[in-house]
Each structure stands twice: as C-alpha cells, then as structure tokens.
C-alpha cells in the first residue's frame, strides 16, 4: 500500500443495509480484506473499512460503512445515512423474510439518505445448493420495481462481490464525480491560456 497522503483522487462513502444475519459484514470483509469467517458473528468492532480501487484511471477510495449491529432492532441512527453516495441493500437468498423486508429498508433509505443516492440490490449467499428461498428472478423483479440494478453474491466463495462494489462505485462515479470533473475541465478551459492556439479575439491586452 502506498503511504503518501494523496493516494486517491476521490473519496466515496458507501453503506450497507439489510436485515441482521444476511452477511453484510462478510461482504465487506471479503471485499476489503478478502477474508471470510463462516461462523455467525454479529457485528462488533467494524465501523467502516476502506479500499481504494481504480476506475477509468482514477483512484477512488471507497469508505464502506457497516451497521455496527444497529439493524438488529431497526435502530440504525439517522446520521448513519448522512452523506452516503451509494447504498448496498442486502438480503439473504436463503431467508425469505430478509427479502420481504427489502421494501422497508428502501423506505428507510428514502427517508434518511439523500434523494439521489445510488442503490444496488444484493442477494447474498448464492453459493448454497439447497435451501434457496428466493429465486434470482424474484430478486431481479423486485430490483426492477425500484429501478435499481441487482446482483447475487457469495461472500463465502467471493462470487459477485467485486462486481457488486464496482458496479455501485461506477454508478456513483458517473453521477457525482464525472460531472464534477467535466465542470472542472470546462472551468479550466475558460481560464486557461493556450499558447499555441489562435485566438480570434486577441486584441485584448496592453494598448
């Protein structure tokens, strides 16, 4: 890892939400540390994790916040959602209830996060052979209802994990960072001096 202070171009704040036990922390640890702990542990000690990724030549530092277990009794603080740019809304494909609760989570997000926040629906634990309770098609359909993309993941096998975070990061980049950059480029053009360009209005200056 680099140690200079400007090791990234942009900082992007992402959040995880969804029922207890759907594997939010596992997804996060798989993505940031490439590790997986199979035993069920409730979230203790994870505030947020960071990973810097490269998107179209830009160093994007993802700061990904976990719920700190406050989802268990639906007691996530409203301040958790502040300044979030992208949100992964996660359910467990083996747990129908966690899927049925997705609309409630979306309402929470709509109520407390900024209106334009990018959202991605994630069905986790897709590695299971038996015990699947929510089909891929059901996930896809629900995501379509709320006009958001959908992916299935397995924090255990790491399938789909990279793709999910990258997809969300790209959405945020397209919505937030690219327009900013375009504006900056536009502004730079306006005030820039092109020594080689032929400027038609070059009468200004010293008389």
């Amino acid at each position: 890892m680099t140690s200079n202070t400007a090791s990234y171009d942009n900082l992007v704040k992402l959040l995880l939400v969804g029922d207890s036990g759907v594997g939010k922390s596992c997804l996060l640890l798989r993505f940031t540390d490439d590790s997986f702990t199979p035993s069920f542990i409730t979230t203790v000690g994870i505030d947020f994790k960071v990973r810097t990724i490269d998107l179209d030549g830009r160093r994007i530092k993802l700061q990904i916040w976990d719920t700190a277990g406050q989802e268990r009794f639906r007691t996530i603080t409203t301040s958790y959602y502040r300044n979030a740019m992208g949100i992964l809304i996660v359910y467990d494909v083996t747990d129908k209830r966690s899927f049925d609760n997705i609309p409630t989570w979306i309402r929470q997000v709509e109520e407390h996060a900024s209106q334009s926040v990018d959202k991605l629906l994630v069905g986790n634990k897709c590695d299971v052979d038996t015990g699947r309770a929510v089909t891929y098609e059901e996930g896809l359909q629900l995501a379509a209802e709320y006009s958001m993309p959908f992916m299935e993941t397995s924090a255990k096998s790491s399938r789909g994990v990279e793709e999910s975070f990258y997809t969300l990061a790209k959405m945020v980049k397209k919505r937030v960072i690219d327009p900013e950059e375009a504006r900056a480029a536009e502004a730079a053009k306006k005030n820039g001096v092109d020594l080689h360009g032929s400027n038609g209005n070059s009468q200004a200056g010293c008389c």
Partner: protein, 524 residues
C-alpha cells in the same frame, strides 16, 4: 416483538439522551457489555431533534399526556405515570401555525418540507474550547459530525440588534465604538484574557457585581459593560447576579475559545445536537453495545429497596427479564418511588420557544447567531432571555428560512417577556396589526412556533458538581446512576462531566473514551 439473545448485561442504559449516550459509549469502549434502551422510536430523548411532522406529533403527545393504556402504543407507561407528578419534564405545551393571508400555502410548505427541518428540544452550541469539543477530538468521535462556526453574537440595545465585537480585530474595525471606547475595551480584553483566577488581581471586586467592576475599574459605559457581561461570555445565559470573579472567568473562557477553529468562540452542530447523541451511540454499538428503541421498561425488580442491594433486574415491554450489575438511567425511566430521592429539589423551570421564520432578521444576513436580551433590555424583560438562530447551513430548516430558539426562566411574566423580546426579531399576525401601511415592516414572519415549559431535573449526585459523585448521597440503590436532563446552558459541559462521573463510578481508573484503534486505512 423481537427478543434479545442475551439477558444479562454489565450495564443497562435507559434513555438515549446525551449523558446516557456518552456514558454508554465510554462503558462499551472500556469493555463493558451494554444494553441501551429507549422507549421512543427515535434517538435523543429530551435532547432530540425532529422533522416538522415529528415535532407536531411530539407536541400533541405532550400537550395532553395520556395516563395509561393509550391505543396508539406510543405512550410509555412509566413516563405517563411520571407526568402526573410535579416532576414532569414538559408542561404547557402549545404549537401554533400562524394564520397569514396565504395561510394554506404556508401550512402546506411546512408540511411538504417536513424532513428538511431539524427542530431541537434542547438547542445548544459548543464552546470551541469546551469539554465536549475536547472529548470529540480526544476520542476521534468528532469524525462522525459536522460543525459550523457561529457567525454573529447580538445584544438588544435601544430596540436595535447590536452586533457584538468578539475579537480584538472586530473591536478595532467597529464603527459604533469611539476611539476612546476601543482603547478601554482593548485594555479590558487583554486583562480578562490573562486572568489566572487569582482574585487579588480584581482589586476587591471579586464578589461584587461584574458590571460595577467594568464601569469603575475600566471606565466602560453601561452599554459596553452590558455587552461584555451578556455577550462576550460563556456565562450560563439565564444566570443573573454575576460576580466579578465569575464574570471575568466566563469572559476569559470565551476569549480563549476564540480562534481555535476560526473567528468564533462557538460551534453549531449540523443537523442539531441529536447528531452528537447518535455519534456516541454508534461508538457504543461499534464496541458491542446492543440497541433497542421503542421498547419500554414495564417493571423494576426491587429485590430490597435500600442503598445496599437495590435493583438487579427489569422487564421490558417485549416480556423479557433483563438482569444487570449497573443501571444508568434518564430521569424519565425511574420508578416514581425514587423520584424525590434521585432528583435535586431546586431544578430550574424554563420557558422555551422554537419559531420558524420565512426570512432573515431585518437587515441582518447572519445565518447563525446568538441574540442576548439582558435583563431590563429595551424589550422590557426582567430576566435574561437568550435566543439562538439557525438556518439551512446547519440543516435546521429549508434554504431561505430561519429557526429561532429562545428561552428564559419560567414564571408569571415569562410569556409576556419572551413575546416582547421575540417581537423585536419577527412578527406574528397579531403583532403586525399596528402597521399603518406607510412604514413597511422589515421583520420576517413567523410561520410556526412551539412553546413549552420544562423542568430541568438534575440528579442529586451530580448536582453538587463536586468530584465525589455517586457516593450514595442520592440514597438510591447502589449501582443506579441517574442522568441529568439537558440544562439551560448554551454549552454541553455539564452533560460531559456527569457522563464522566457515572463512567468513573462504574469503572474506576479506566480510560474515558480513548481513540478507537485506527481503521486499516491506505492513506494514513
């Protein structure tokens, strides 16, 4: 209702006010298992901030506290019981949407923008050098929060809002001060900034009124002396009879806070103080604390109701029985039998008002401000009145509007005094009637206001403010620690001190909220 998988905790914390939340965070950080419960579905208790709709709902519930078994499931059995005693927190709650000619429009715009408001029950600012800022910095918890510098401090003087210069630079550039006044003021500010607390430096004035000292020793005119006493100070805003020693200490602390984060001694919390509560709760959760909101305590088991044994269990509204070693509780959750033993008798009663305005104060563009109405100001108030203005930069309200919080000591004349002070800032349909059409009223219009009286219930333990808290002086069962209500001060200092005393009593010698281990960050 969901069930907890663990039914014994080192500490159960009741209420998510600031004192409770700081204590909860510190205890979890120190390795204690913590269960943090709030009967409301929101964080903050008596320190909460609300959307417009939620504030109306709060007002409705508190206008007529229901006794028990209400059908909406919102009312808390214990608190309702509590409300019948003279220790109730809120009384005389009244909400008004003002009827302007375009009334339906106003009402609709308030409701449709409901979520753009963060209206606080106990608005406060942070002294830049105060205990809460120090704690947020030392613990790193400030990283969850955003602050803005307070822009302006005003004092009502001869019916005018006078902006009080709070720095040496501002004194120099002031256009309302004469050269001689500037020189006298500078001399005083230099002296106050260097005050060591050695009363002999005060030429025998230490216990005499501060105003006398400013006039006699530094030759400051009454107008300037009042500005110093009431607006260049970290004085608790409702305190009167300030001695020279107290006053000069408050002024010194104000001056020393100046410049720590920029040209202001005070900081505003973006989205309000309830964010600070939530930041501490997050830390508690990160360190393993369990959170349940919307669950009430329906029963305490008083195994032996004396100071030796006390409670060791309580039952939640989901039917679960929870045992614990220590109980940290907001006043509202205490069994009625404990009230008088737990709460100091002389709790102050305060009249508060929160008003939404449709624009900035006449001729004043400051977005955030403190407005002081010294006793016997030209508005005619006998007691001090303090007002705090917030705007959209602190997310108190939508852009273009302002929120003004004001408070004063409750009493027979308090409502009239408060109204008179507020009339200098904004107009209501009633106070616009005098207009004769030739002189356009520049004051912004009040769109909505809520007023209520509150009883500031302080624990007997913390009340003495001495170092020996929790020595059983409260005669509560051992292991029970009572958290104070938000007070009438501008700053949060007392809440931090109380939380710390509770922490020290439960975990003697442990470090109070050290920084968390660093996140594995690639740019550190």
């Amino acid at each position: 209702m969901d069930q907890l998988s663990t039914t014994h905790y080192d500490v159960v914390v009741l209420g998510t006010g600031l004192v409770e939340s700081i204590a909860a965070a510190a205890l979890a950080r120190a390795g204690k298992s913590v269960l943090h419960v709030d009967a409301n579905k929101y964080y903050g208790g008596n320190w909460a901030a609300f959307s417009y709709d939620a504030l109306l709902q709060w007002a409705k519930q508190n206008e007529a506290p229901m006794v028990d078994g209400s059908s909406d499931g919102q009312q808390r059995p214990l608190a309702a019981h509590f409300a019948q005693t003279n220790q109730a927190r809120y009384t005389n709650v009244r909400a008004d949407e003002y009827a302007w000619p375009d009334a339906t429009e106003v009402s609709a715009s308030l409701a449709s923008a409901s979520r753009q408001y963060a209206l606080e029950l106990a608005p406060k600012l942070l002294a830049a050098n105060g205990e809460l800022v120090d704690l947020l910095v030392a613990s790193d918890i400030g990283k969850y929060l955003e602050f803005r510098l307070l822009e302006a401090v005003y004092l009502l003087s001869d019916d005018q809002l006078e902006r009080v210069p709070s720095s040496k630079e501002a004194v120099f550039s002031s256009k309302t001060l004469t050269l001689v006044e500037k020189r006298k003021l500078m001399k005083f500010l230099m002296f106050a900034g260097a005050y060591t607390g050695d009363e002999t430096a005060l030429d025998g004035f230490a216990e005499r009124p501060y105003a006398d000292y400013l006039a006699e020793r530094f030759g400051l005119a009454p107008r300037l002396a009042a500005a110093i006493e009431h607006a260049v100070t970290l004085k608790p805003p409702l305190q009167t009879g300030v001695t020279t020693h107290q006053g000069i200490t408050y002024t010194r602390d104000y001056l020393r806070s100046f410049g720590r984060f920029g040209p202001s001694s005070l900081l505003c919390t973006v989205y309000g103080g309830s964010e600070i509560v939530q930041a501490f709760c997050r830390v508690c959760a990160v360190f393993g604390g369990t959170y349940i909101l919307g669950y009430d305590v329906v029963d305490f088991e008083l195994s032996n109701d004396d100071a030796e044994q006390g409670v060791a269990a309580l039952s939640l509204s989901n039917g679960q029985r929870i045992t614990f070693d220590h109980l940290v509780s907001a006043v509202d959750y205490l069994p009625t039998a404990w009230q008088h033993r737990a709460i100091a008798d002389d709790g102050m009663r305060v009249l508060r008002m929160v008003t939404v305005l449709d624009g900035s104060l006449a001729g004043e563009e400051a977005k955030t401000a403190v407005i002081n109405f010294a006793p016997h100001s030209s508005a005619g108030n006998a007691e001090p009145v303090i007002a705090l203005q917030m705007d959209s930069e602190t997310h108190a309200c939508p852009a273009g509007q302002r929120v003004v919080y004001a408070w004063t000591k409750a009493g027979d004349t308090a409502h009239d005094a408060l109204d008179a002070c507020m009339r200098t800032l904004f107009r209501t349909p009633d106070s616009t009637a005098a207009q004769d059409g030739t002189d356009v009223d520049q004051r912004p219009r009040a769109l909505f206001s809520l007023r209520f009286e509150e009883h500031i219930r302080a624990s007997r333990d913390g009340h003495s403010d001495s170092a020996s808290h929790d020595t059983g002086a409260s005669s509560l069962p051992a292991g029970v620690h009572v958290c104070d209500d938000p007070d009438a001060d501008l700053d949060f200092g007392r809440a931090v001190r109380r939380a710390r005393a509770i922490f020290d009593a439960i975990t003697p010698g442990a470090e109070f909220l050290p920084k968390a281990p660093p996140v594995d960050d690639d740019d550190l």
